[in-house]
Symmetry: C2
Subunit: 398 residues, 2 copies
């Protein structure tokens, strides 16, 4: 489909791989961390700042964009890239995770999932076909299959049922995308002129069809390695552009997250990208890259920032604490981000105490820098074949 993945280097001592993901909106260096832009914005960051930070791909949430402004509005505005003013790669989730997190508001059937909007209680139905349709309207470069994500802990029976349903839904998603592709080809052959991209807006105009996205399947199975294998095999039989690990970082012990990541990554094709959804801390990223993961997303750097929790080379720091009131050091004296070069802990603490917007802006900027810098160090360590050295350094942190 619309995706090419190449492996550029492998670390000799671990399963870490350095790769390049070629999408319709540019190349993404992997391993990559995708900041979360829930409603089409990474909270507190301008798109220009994200570019300055070196962000190469964003994640946006289908559920939120479906409710507001509505995927049809986004489609009419030329797709999410143009709507957001972000001419770089975007991945959208299927909406399933959010829908199923709305405790008591969702009901899963074979056909799909009924849910009520958290905004106004209105009833909606999300099927695999509908999830693809909405994501196509949004126009992301990578879209996800609808999956059933169960809570932790779950019974073997519940996990097994979710794995089976996730497999059937994955097949329906692929068929729905294939259906759209054949319609797209017919439309295209009827059109006399190809769409001409504007040099200033290298994103589709409202009238031109969006390029076909890549579709990733999602492996479920909780912490049950046999079920993970079963799920992976079903998805491999269907065939996707990439494979995600869902249902992790939902409360299980960290050692199990790592074990599932490692053993599931083992089952997936060497030449395709592997995406661990919703993970995690900077340490998790380092550990899971070592186990063969290429892509991550997590709200942690952005959400924690807004709550005044910042990541530093010496551990986390709750900047609102009174001890920082007269501390004129940078958030992280070892950090080279523009926030750490300009502002003191004292100032940023003051901003949090008085509830200023700039508090969240600066903390988010710093945390994203910290995550993206961690990924740069990860990629460099793989390139030099020195991943264990990086991992030891990170493990030795306070």
């Amino acid at each position: 489909m619309g995706l090419r993945f190449e492996i550029v280097a492998r670390d000799p001592g671990t399963r870490a791989r350095l790769g390049r993901l070629h999408t319709a909106h540019g190349v993404v260096e992997t391993p990559v961390f995708m900041p979360v832009g829930t409603a089409g914005t990474v909270k507190g960051m301008t798109q220009g700042t994200l570019e300055d930070l070196g962000v190469e791909i964003l994640l946006a949430n289908t559920y939120h964009l479906y409710l507001r402004p509505g995927h049809e509005v986004v489609r009419e505005m030329g797709g999410l890239h143009r709507f957001m003013g972000w001419p770089h790669p975007i991945l959208t989730d299927s909406g399933g995770f959010q829908v199923m997190s709305l405790k008591g508001l969702g009901r899963v059937t074979e056909d799909g999932v009924w849910f009520r909007s958290h905004l106004d209680g209105s009833a909606h139905f999300l099927s695999p076909e509908r999830a693809v349709e909405i994501q196509l309207a949004l126009g992301a470069d990578i879209i996800m299959t609808l999956d059933e994500c169960v809570e932790y802990p779950a019974s073997h029976e519940a996990l097994k049922r979710a794995v089976k349903l996730t497999g059937r839904w994955a097949g329906r998603c692929k068929a729905a995308l294939g259906q759209r592709n054949s319609e797209f080809r017919i439309q295209n052959s009827e059109s006399s002129e190809p769409p001409t991209p504007s040099p200033q807006h290298p994103v589709p105009t409202p009238d031109s069809p969006l390029p076909t996205p890549a579709l990733f399947g999602i492996v479920q199975g909780g912490t049950d390695l046999a079920l993970r294998r079963e799920s992976a095999e079903e998805l491999l039989n269907i065939g996707f552009d990439g494979y995600a690990l869902g249902g992790l970082s939902v409360g299980e012990p960290k050692s199990e997250t790592y074990e599932v990541a490692e053993s599931t990554a083992e089952l997936l094709p060497q030449d395709q990208p592997r995406y661990l959804m919703g993970v995690g801390t900077p340490e998790d990223l380092v550990e899971c890259v070592a186990r063969g993961i290429d892509m991550f997303d997590c709200v942690m750097p952005t959400r924690n920032a807004r709550n005044g929790c910042v990541f530093t080379s010496e551990g986390r720091l709750v900047i609102k604490n009174a001890q920082y009131a007269r501390d004129d050091r940078a958030l992280d004296p070892a950090c080279e981000c523009v926030v750490c070069r300009r502002y003191s802990r004292s100032y940023i603490r003051h901003l949090f105490v008085v509830g200023e917007m700039l508090a969240g802006i600066l903390a988010t900027h710093h945390n994203l820098y910290f995550y993206l810098d961690t990924m740069r160090k990860i990629r460099q360590a793989i390139e030099f074949g020195k991943y264990e050295a990086l991992r030891s350094r990170v493990r030795a942190r306070p």
Copy 2:
């Protein structure tokens, strides 16, 4: 004191003047608009963005900084420039306006004003001497005398009393600053080594004394031209580095604001800066520069932005309105700011509807650009001696 003001050009058809204000932290081109950084931050803007926008001087509020983080904390952190990471000029108000706006929480006496904090109800006292002391701790380039600002409409008696008290307080402020200066000179002559400014932080270190600020007196008198004259004459007798017009834009008709600005400006020295406090709309700026004003501050561009009201070359626009849901034009298609070059009305409306931080950030950025661009056009029109042409264009706006 610490201020030199030079007039570079005068418009032949109006009273508009082009000038340069030389402060300890750099030169400010006048006429100038000072964005308001209430608590040591222009809400939603990083200091880097303010620099990119071409902001040359900020206003900060003594009242707010006195309460949080406290002027002693700011002093210990090396003064407001260093605390905020803003190595450019800063003006602080005296705190009087905020204190007297706290309806029912303030009580004016000959000595000063008793007030209760809007945060915790704690009692505080602000005298002219205390206002200077706090502003010296903050370390701004330009500080303001404590004045009594009365509500509109006010009786002649109340206005007269405020003018007299403002005059006496102005004298006490000047004396307090003079007292500090002689102490400062003694300290300096005792010190064996002069403070060495660091090239990276051209702001005082916590241990070095801050340069003496310029002190501006504030003319009161409401819309009574005779009282304005009386107030101006009292202040001129004391002698200040610059003169402000206070107590305007508090509810009086616009024609009276302009009349008072014009006739008061007439009374003030030609070779000193004139600052119209708390004014106003872009049209007000154009009109009042024509009447001889050099400096302005107002929360309007920033506060309106956060409420979704944006200034454009075709008038104001309430971006939250449903009519913009599918409008893919820029906020102001004629504007060249980075917001208008990148984002659509549709997107920015969406951000407001879902309550995203980026909504206020983008609208504030655009509004400040609009104000600063208006000031650039004003300065250019004076330079070219074509101020009336600019004024006609602005008056012809929808």
